[in-house]
Amino acid sequence: MAKVIVVTSGKGGVGKTTTSASFATGLALQGHKVAVLDFDVGLRNLDLIMGCERRVVYDFVNVINQEATLKQALIKDKHCDNLYILPASQTRDKDALTVEGVERVIDELKESFDYIVCDSPAGIEKGAIMALYFADEALVVTNPEVSSVRDSDRILGMLSAKSRRAEKGESPVKEHLLVTRYSPKRAKNGEMLSVADVQEILNVPLLGVIPESEVVLQASNAGAPAIHQNGSDVSEAYGDAIARFLGEERPMRFTTEKPGLLQRLFGG
């Protein structure tokens, strides 16, 4: 049975699109058939992060309005055979997303994909609600910073009140916390909320911790999801989160400071 996953946060700039791109890619690298959908109508960016911006012909809204078929609009990823991208429209506004239209697209995707990853826009308005409405599971992307934590709390409220599962009285959307842009050193010095603090406040099971890293900007510059930067902390951290999502137990990494050179030499 296909699963719909929403990547959401409330606040902008915390790493939703970065996470959607790497998470979808990671699931595909594990052999699953994955579609990743951009719900940010008017401000599409997933295409840039995935590096397929020059191959966009039709978009999500064209499919909803039946101006193109889903097959015509889906873009095959250049790195993974079983990964497809459905870009958002750049010219319409969020009202173009209707419950019926989105439902039809998701139902059709469910026939041939294992995972449907929905990249939510920031905010709590129509685009964000549409992205979370059909979700079975949610990745709540949070930075260890007051405004991001507060907005994540708000989006968690939306998941438990405005999703289809909530409206139909079904079992709730399964929530996962993903702390991104984490700096273990600053948390240790008491300058940044720790992962434990964020988790205690939001009270959602922790799926993973993605460390703050230069690699993310380099990946977006190049148009290849950060998970492809083999050997980097970010790539490893996303790999861990995906393994946990698929049921594997892995110890949390990147939550404590890396030992310095002297410490490593003298085993301090």
């Binding site: 910073e145 007051v146 934590v149 507060r150 709390d153 708000r154 409220g157 948390a187 010095n189 008491g190 300058e191 940044m192 909320l193 720790s194 603090d197 406040i201």
Partner: protein, 89 residues
């Protein structure tokens, strides 16, 4: 430990300030979830009316909306200054 970090150590870390602030504001927002939009304004007006008749610290008036199933209870808690309570009895 350097003298500088010793001196700074006595000051409260910003992360724990952030945590406290978040816990307070989120508890407040969870209480207000689903409450009518006019509630904060109504609270303020009720408090102004009480302050007009009784000389009282506005912080000592608590207005709370409690929800139990189908019933919502608006609770008003006023702590009167001791002198005035004695004068009335």
């Amino acid at each position: 430990m350097s003298i500088l970090s010793y001196l700074l150590g006595s000051r409260k870390k910003t992360a724990s300030v952030a945590k406290e602030r978040l816990q307070i504001i989120l508890a407040h927002e969870h209480n207000g979830r689903g409450a009518p939009d006019y509630l904060p304004a109504m609270k303020q007006e009720i408090m102004a009316v009480i302050a007009k008749y009784i000389e009282i610290d506005v912080d000592k008036i608590h207005v709370n909306l409690d929800r139990q199933d189908e019933v919502a209870v608006l609770e008003l808690n006023v702590v009167l200054p001791e002198m005035q309570v004695q004068g009335k009895s």
